[in-house]
Symmetry: C2
Subunit: 123 residues, 2 copies
DNA sequence: ATACCTTACGTAATACGTAATAATC
DNA sequence: GATTATTACGTATTACGTAAGGTAT
């Protein structure tokens, strides 16, 4: 069970089609098929009933697990946001402006101190 | 980000030690170290502060993501339970009793018919 | 024929283990 | 020296793509 697989399954259900899910997710239809097949063999239960006439129908089991899967996807997104935010705190650019003459001697000292304070954060 | 990684991180926090988490999870300490390192490089933010004296301390970021991670793990467990339950419906053992003499000829036929009906379910 | 899913096969990524290394008590 | 985390390296798994194959309209 992979996030990609969960995302794929969720999107396939949403779109009602492997091909269109593949387009939206920017992957090959083969990858979509693999993803669903992978989940199904892992669970030993079909998730989707392939009906050529009416497109894709979600199996009983599929309906059961769809909700927890979407919860998972939401949480994953949340974690990634947290990560991005945390990174932002550390990886932001710092801009310093000054009068050329005044800070010519002061700046190096300030930068030096600042870098020392930064050292432990960098690790 | 893998479930294993999430489970490892969660357990490391719980145990306060890589080694003990490894024991509980039946994996090598190296695998535990890999798992945490993998998460940290993926996020670009440290999850744990390694303090040899006081064991493991969870970073600020780690504390933030711990909760959603545990939610994910719970949902995963839930999905697996659903799968097991759904499988149980299909994978149960069937026991057939009979008088030796009476069913000697009948049984093969019955089994044959039964297997034919089973065919579509097995796929 | 066309639209859609599946299968075969190759490849690149990676999760994990063993074993060696480093560091702290 | 004992305990614990990291690193190096090898391997087996696997996610994914390309391309070919079924199947139904």
């Amino acid at each position: 069970m992979t996030w990609t697989q969960l995302a794929v399954f969720s999107k396939v259900v949403e779109m009602g089609s492997f091909t269109r899910a593949a387009e939206v997710l920017h992957m090959s239809q083969s990858a979509v098929s693999h993803a669903i097949a992978g989940l199904e063999t892992e669970f030993g239960v079909p998730l989707l009933i392939r009906d050529r006439k009416h497109g894709i129908v979600v199996s009983d089991f599929g309906r059961r697990v769809l909700d927890p899967m979407r919860v998972i996807l939401n949480r994953v997104a949340q974690i990634e946001q947290e990560a991005a935010a945390a990174q932002g705190l550390e990886a932001g650019t710092i801009r310093v402006g000054s009068f050329p003459s005044t800070f010519a001697r002061l700046l190096p000292k300030i930068v030096s101190v600042f870098e020392k304070q930064l050292a432990p954060i960098r690790r």
